[in-house]
Amino acid sequence: MRLRMRHWGVLTIGLILSMAISGIAYGALGDRLLSKGSKGPEVTELQQKLAQLGYAIGTADGSFGTKTESAIQRFQKARGLTVDGLAGTQTINELKRLSGQSTNSTGKAVGTKSVETNLLARCVNAEARGEPYVGQVAVAAVILNRISDPAFPKTIADIVYQPQAFSSVADGQINLPPSADALRAAQEAVSGSDPSKGAVFFFNPAKTKNKYIWSRPQIIKIGNHIFTK
């Protein structure tokens, strides 16, 4: 009986030790090359950072799968890195730098300031996938133009989720992970680009019979979308 007790003790200590060692072995994000099939808390951290920057990965489950690989590729493409789908030192450093918080002059962190841009990117992705890049910037610009137009709500979320404003919200496409182009288009529109030249509506003439939207003064056609006042 006493012997068996000791067995249990040894087993417990062994278990605790092995867990502690495995924790150390995983180490911090950036210590080793992560690729498809990698597992561990550092993968979770990688996934969280990707998601924060708008590169959706599904659930951060600590296992490097197809979704994580594609998110890494999109990130690499957007940042002008070699696109190989591997999270090596350069990719991880870039990711760490970009997902850092904004700071004031004394270095105090004040948040990431990117929440609304990510929503904008989702909307651009859902509404203008497959459109030329300029057309995607224009769609993002339309949403931002609405903020300063008296007939629309005043925040990005209010505009995107306004009932019947965007079909992609009603059919759930808004929740698809945004492409790297959509993210960049959203950032560019936020920083002031407006290829739509002040438009507050856009529509696909092949798909829309809505009389109201056809009655608006048209400004420009980019790709398959007509942008109107």
């Binding site: 002008g80 004031n104 005043k154 306004q162 009932p163 019947q164 109201y212 400004i219 420009i220």
Partner: protein, 454 residues
């Protein structure tokens, strides 16, 4: 024996599917209820914010001392924002321009402008007092009608949006749409909350417009100020596009005509390979260029790109100063502004994008420059020493200069610009160059992609 087995199996299947169906039905009911509750909440909130707005407007009208006036005016702007937010959540059949929304935005903007003026020691004119009063008069019936709508919702089982038109109505035998009827002056009781709101919209349209049209009426220039005179034909525009592409590195290109664009800087849009280019009809200048080619892994440093950007500006014939840059990863974006007699003119801006794979220009945007550029004369100003004295004590100035900045309502202000620190935060402060009054405050943050001005 076999028959009994079959009956048993089928009964079990029926029971399971009934159970499943009932469960789904119950779940759908739950979701409907959640949605219904949210809609209800939005409508009731809308009504209560309108009610508070109406009260604040009444109080704002009577308030005579500046602090009370500021209090009520700022409440008007925050209540109208809140009401607008609720209004945007009420179900609709289609998104369109709405007069109720416009009314709320204008009321908010107007009172915000007045708040700032009174806070700076200014006063309201008799006309502005009257406008505030008009607003109050118009809000009262809106408020009542929304409250009526809520009562009718409880007593007449109003739905949120009108049911789809029946076959008979589609064929043209049905009555006219309710909102249209209201515009004619006839009042048919609305069948849904949305059509009730549409009726309100239509009745608002009939009222005389306000003397105040809002800051937004002037948010874009009525006509571009900086475009050269004369117009160009499509053929001439093609040559202009070709020359531009040549300077960017696409020699002997043949840009393909894509479309005409309307509006302020309207003209001709062109495509060449994956590049997209706008040439204005008036003046024949390139206003927008974007190369949508895929950018290869980066080879240039930020410094290389900055040097390249400055060289490109000169080769395109611009003499502007570089003020800021933003890192987009595969390319860097640069803002250049005009400078005259040592005064930075921020509204006259040109933006460039330089790819980090080969240093090629991939983006160009001169819309702000051509919209706002004009011959400017600088009015008399106080001296730099006098301006510095107007700053808050302990504000540590790190940079100072004269500048022209844009103000809401499409106005320019001639200012002293001070960059400096106060209690651990960094700011840009703008003082009116003529009076030394504080015109604008901006906060500077360091983000991973560059400086961010808030």
């Amino acid at each position: 024996m076999h028959r009994k087995l079959w009956i048993g199996a089928l009964t079990a299947a029926l029971l399971i599917s009934l159970g499943w169906g009932f469960n789904e039905y119950r779940l759908a009911g739950d979701y409907r209820l959640v949605a219904e509750n949210n809609n209800h909440r939005a409508l009731i909130d809308f009504s209560s914010h309108l009610d508070q707005l109406e009260t604040d407007m009444a109080k704002g009208n009577v308030a005579s001392n500046p602090t009370q006036k500021i209090l009520y005016l700022s409440q008007i702007s925050s209540k109208s924002d809140a009401a607008l937010k609720d209004f945007a959540q009420i179900p609709a059949e289609q998104a369109g321009l709405s007069y109720i929304g416009q009314f709320l935005v204008q009321a908010g903007e107007f009172s915000r402008t007045l708040t700032q003026r009174i806070a700076a020691g200014g006063q309201l004119s008799a006309q502005e007092d009257k406008t505030l009063n008009d607003w109050h008069e118009q809000l009262m019936p809106i408020n009542q009608k929304v409250q009526d709508l809520i009562v009718r919702m409880d007593t007449e089982n109003l739905v949120w949006t009108d049911p789809a038109p029946t076959l008979r109505q589609r064929l043209g035998f049905g009555g006219t749409k309710i909102a249209e009827a209201a515009a004619d002056g006839s009042e048919i009781p609305a069948k849904s909350v949305r059509s009730g709101l549409d009726q309100l919209d239509a009745s608002l349209q009939k009222l005389p417009p306000f003397t105040y049209t809002g800051e937004f009426a002037t948010r874009v220039v009525p006509k571009p100020l900086g475009l050269p005179t004369g117009t160009v034909t499509q053929d001439q525009a093609q040559v202009i596009a070709q020359e531009f592409l040549g300077k960017v590195g696409y020699n002997n290109s043949t840009p393909v005509f894509s479309a005409n664009s309307q509006g302020l800087l309207g003209g001709y849009t062109w495509n060449y390979k994956e590049a997209y280019l706008d040439v204005s009809q008036q003046g024949g200048v390139v206003t927008f260029y974007r190369d949508q080619r895929s950018i290869e892994p980066r080879k240039l440093s930020q410094e290389d790109a900055t040097a390249k950007a400055k060289a490109v500006m000169i080769s395109l014939g611009w003499q502007l100063v570089l003020t800021s840059s933003e890192d987009f990863g595969s390319y860097v974006q640069y803002d250049f502004v005009a400078e005259k007699e040592g005064v930075r003119i921020y509204p006259d801006k040109v933006r460039l994008m330089i790819a980090l794979d080969n240093g090629q220009l991939v983006g160009f945007d001169s819309v702000p420059y051509y919209s706002f550029h004009q011959a400017r004369n600088f009015p008399p100003k106080i001296t730099m020493e006098q301006a510095v004295k107007k700053l808050r004590p302990n504000f540590q100035v790190t940079e100072k200069r004269l500048a022209v900045i844009a103000k809401s309502g499409n106005q320019d202000v001639y200012c002293y610009e001070f960059r400096g620190k106060y209690q651990g935060e960094e700011y840009l402060l703008y003082l009116d160059a003529a009076t030394g009054a504080e015109e604008k405050i901006q906060r500077i943050l360091k983000t991973p992609r560059g400086e961010f001005i808030q």
